[in-house]
């Protein structure tokens, strides 16, 4: 039964890792502008396409 202690600890640490990445994502401003990137993707770079 003791193995459950190990499992709980590991899962807790993993989840804490996700929390840390969430905080990092917010801090880096990834959610500041949720509209412009959706337009940016529509503009393909013609030059690259031609040089292919």
């Amino acid at each position: 039964m003791d193995v459950i202690l190990v499992l709980i600890t590991v899962s807790f640490i993993l989840a804490a890792g996700f929390l840390a990445s969430f905080i990092w994502a917010i801090r880096s401003g990834q959610f500041e502008d949720d509209y412009t990137p959706s337009l940016r993707i529509l503009l393909e770079d013609k030059e690259k396409a031609e040089s292919r």
């Binding site: 039964m1 003791d2 459950i4 202690l5 709980i8 600890t9 807790f12 989840a15 804490a16 929390l19 969430f22 905080i23 917010i26 801090r27 401003g29 959610f31 500041e32 502008d33 509209y35 412009t36 337009l39 940016r40 529509l42 503009l43 013609k46 030059e47």
Partner: protein
């Protein structure tokens, strides 16, 4: 005359090319500015721009030499730059000309036009570009000029200089919500075995889980830091606010849990603690809704440019407004604002004082007369001599008036704070009462009961009902084009008992006046001549005529002359077109068949073609269809007042259509409006001001709830608490009702939360508040309050028949 010249449209901006069209590489350009951008893009092989879309309405004007020189000023630079470290600097420019995805593409490619720019990122909704550049290789001045030259003139006004780097509360709030949610979910998982196994859990596992819960509850204290901070502030200011019982509850929960876990006496209340914070923060996030495209905090400084042209000997130079000295000669072009009090140095000028006085008809000024700051100059370029510094000018003094300062202190929800006062006192009484009751019989039970009361009474339901109900109302309003500055405005709107309307632009349609033509019939050709002649004038009547004739073609004008205060004299295809005052068009001996008397209450603009009088355009301001209905409906329950800056020309129409209990005042200057509201407020009235123009800014600010009405929400609006799209002005009575109902909903949810607390108290006072009961009762009360307020407000919104 057969001149089948095909209309040419500019390749760059899509505008019609008039006489000065430039041709290059088989393409046409309307001006050298457009050609310049085209060449620039061509050099950089960025022509793709022309495949993506026609960049309409972005016709660049050539950047003048030295136009942005003032950006080299250290003081201005320091205020504009977000940061400047190790030679790298970041600046955010507001570019109102961003319209489409092609703009993003072009703007983000400016890194290729100026190698000093390392990164350019556009925020489409905010219409901003943030630019990271290397200070040695380029400068603010160069970047601003570059942006202007490709058609995106940065908006630089006096208000930019006051903006501090934007503090982002939102980020830290979301982080805290994330932490609270993480802790809540984990602690719940750790606590479940204990609740489900009911004592059959192995001893070592149980202890381990309890410790883990306690560890996971430590970050929750960080998430609660805002509540502690504001509790401390309100204690210092000797105010009882809702944050005090909240903070007490949070601390009691944490200390009690630590005590139980560390002494191996119980499981603690970590799960309740984390759940409480999660719901509280969720409410805080919910109540915040930002409308990026709107700006609520504009004051007069937003309307003043940062620089102006100064005459220096024979040369012209751009100078920052703060550096203008008394005695300087400034050059003011069409549609520019007079930055500071001055004296006119040119023969005549026409000034639009609507910003200052509210009078929409421009005023003529003669040589040597004094001009006050804030006036907008209409017509050809004039020179003025400065007599006062910007800081002491009329506008600045009007605005820095003590009246407007310190008026709006931090506004916290009145209702929840009033309730919090009683609540806090009640909780402390019950807690101490319980303690005193048990203290002689069982000291341990007494302590338990004391802490349990603080825990269970934690007014979470009380604290979350306001954000959720106001937040929901705010969302409903925004669906119907009423945008509130924040959720607390809902409560303020519900409090209003007096409503003041501005007439022009609010009750009448400012742009679209009713216009009709009477007189001899005109051919299509003749109408198109009139349109072309009217196009060049900025007089409001000319604009109306131009709009009225918008379906006709444009002609090239051979000769154009605008006679001050009289009219327009233009020559098109060798035909003489005159538009203007009756006395100017018709000479005394000219007999015409128009009876002047029949148009007494309307403005008439007369026209003649080749010296033959033709007829006139009748222009009158048109009331919005619903204006009278709204006012009459509101006047049943509210005191309604109409304040107008205009002359009392419309008094008859108004009295005919409006209830008698509506008061009307005409020729009100902005200061009069402001004082009128102040007087009402001294009589303990809660005033809502509904107005549009800059001339209402002071009144909007002074009123308890200022509602700015606008045709287009992306347009500029004066500083206000709420922005209302004109199309929704007929919803105003429904908005007021919904606000009142929402406040009722808040009261109902308070009753609900008090019932929960009564149940909780009985458990707590008898010393029976086990962690399981707390873990059920507290989230249950929170969730039910959230569901209740959101549902109730949404249903209220629907039953009000908002269309």
């Amino acid at each position: 005359m057969i001149n089948e010249k095909k209309d040419k449209y500019c390749v760059h901006c899509g505008d019609l090319c008039l006489s000065e069209a430039i041709e290059k590489e088989g393409r046409d350009f309307c001006c050298s500015g457009c050609l310049f951008v085209y060449e620039l893009l061509n050099d950089l092989t960025l022509q793709k721009n022309y495949d993506i879309s026609k960049l309409k309405s972005i016709s660049p004007k050539p950047v003048k030499e030295g136009e942005y020189d003032f950006l080299d000023d250290e003081e201005i630079k320091e205020k504009l730059l977000l940061f400047s470290i190790n030679g790298k600097a970041k600046v955010i420019f507001s570019l109102p000309n961003i319209y489409c995805s092609a703009c993003i593409w072009l703007l983000e490619n400016i890194t290729r036009m100026d190698t000093g720019i390392k990164e350019a990122k556009v925020n489409f909704l905010k219409k901003e570009i943030s630019i990271l550049f290397i200070e040695e290789q380029t400068s603010l001045k160069k970047i601003a000029a570059l942006l202007a030259s490709i058609g995106y003139r940065p908006k630089l006004n006096m208000a930019n200089l006051e903006r501090k780097s934007p503090v982002d509360d939102n980020r830290s709030l979301i982080i805290k919500l994330g932490i609270a949610g993480f802790c809540f979910a984990n602690i719940m998982l750790f606590a479940l075995p204990e609740y489900l196994a009911l004592g059959n859990l192995e001893e070592n596992i149980r202890t381990y889980l309890r410790f883990l819960s306690l560890i996971a509850s430590v970050p929750v204290l960080y998430a609660a830091s805002d509540y502690f901070r504001s509790a401390i502030i309100s204690i210092k200011m000797k105010i009882i606010s809702i944050d005090i019982p909240l903070s007490l509850g949070i601390i009691a929960l944490f200390l009690r849990s630590s005590y139980e876990v560390l002494t191996f006496t119980g499981p603690g209340y970590s799960d309740s603690l984390a759940g409480l914070l999660f719901f509280l923060l969720l409410g805080k996030v919910f109540q915040k809704k930002t409308f990026y495209t709107l700006s609520f905090d504009r004051d007069y400084k937003s309307y003043f440019p940062m620089s102006v042209i100064r005459k220096k000997g024979e040369k012209e130079e751009y100078v920052a407004i703060k550096d203008i000295k008394i005695g300087n000669t400034l050059i003011i072009r069409n549609n520019e604002i007079i930055p500071t009090d001055s004296i006119l140095m040119t023969e005549t000028a026409i000034l639009d004082y609507s910003f200052v006085t509210g009078e929409s008809i421009p005023v003529p000024v003669k040589f040597g007369e004094k001009i006050y700051s804030g006036a907008k100059h209409i017509g050809s370029t004039v020179e003025v001599q400065v007599v006062k510094n910007f800081q002491q000018s009329y506008m600045t003094e009007l605005w820095d008036n003590q009246l407007l300062k310190d008026k709006k202190e931090v506004y916290t929800s009145d209702i929840s704070n009033k309730m919090a006062k009683y609540f806090t006192i009640l909780v402390l009484l019950v807690a101490f009462g319980g303690f005193l009751f048990w203290v002689n019989k069982d000291i341990k039970l007494a302590m338990n009961a004391f802490v349990a009361v603080l825990i269970v009474a934690c007014p979470c339901a009380l604290a979350i009902s306001t954000p959720f109900s106001y937040g929901t109302a705010l969302r409903i309003f925004s669906k119907f084009n009423l945008f509130l500055k924040n959720d607390k405005i809902v409560e303020k709107i519900a409090d209003v008992d007096t409503i003041i309307f501005d007439k022009t632009g609010t009750l009448t349609e400012s742009e679209k006046s009713e216009i009709s033509y009477t007189g001899k019939p005109l051919s299509e050709q003749e109408f198109s001549w009139l349109k072309s002649a009217a196009r060049n004038s900025t007089h409001p009547y000319s604009r109306s005529i131009y709009d009225y004739l918008k379906n006709y073609e444009l002609n090239v004008i051979e000769n154009y002359n605008e006679i001050f205060g009289q009219g327009i004299d233009a020559v098109i295809s060798s035909n003489r077109i005159r538009i203007g005052k009756k006395s100017w068009i018709y000479h005394d001996d000219d007999k015409n068949d128009l009876n002047q008397d029949s148009f007494s209450d309307e403005a008439a603009v007369y026209v003649s073609i080749n010296e033959e009088s033709k007829g006139c355009f009748l222009i009158k301001s048109r009331y919005r269809e619903s204006s009278f209905d709204i006012i009459n409906e509101l006047s049943n329950t509210y005191k309604v007042v109409i304040l107008s800056g205009d002359l009392p020309a419309d008094k008859e129409i108004l009295t005919k259509n409006i209830n008698k209990n509506v008061e009307m005042y005409f020729e009100q200057k902005p200061a009069d409006k402001l004082n009128f509201i102040k007087n009402l407020q001294n009589l303990k009235k809660k005033v809502m001001m509904v107005g549009d123009g800059l001339n209402d800014s002071g009144a909007l600010n002074q009123s308890d709830t200022g509602v700015a009405v606008t045709d287009n929400t992306s347009n500029f609006t004066p500083g206000s608490d709420a922005i209302l799209n004109v199309s929704s002005i007929n919803q105003l009575p429904a908005f007021l009702k919904l606000s009142k109902k929402t406040v009722q909903t808040v009261y109902m949810s308070y009753t609900l939360s008090i019932l929960y607390n009564l149940v909780g108290f009985t458990f707590a006072l008898t010393g029976n508040l086990s962690p399981v009961i707390a873990a059920i009762l507290m989230p249950l009360s929170s969730i039910s309050v959230v569901v209740f307020t959101i549902l109730k407000t949404t249903i209220n919104g629907q039953t009000l028949k908002l269309k």
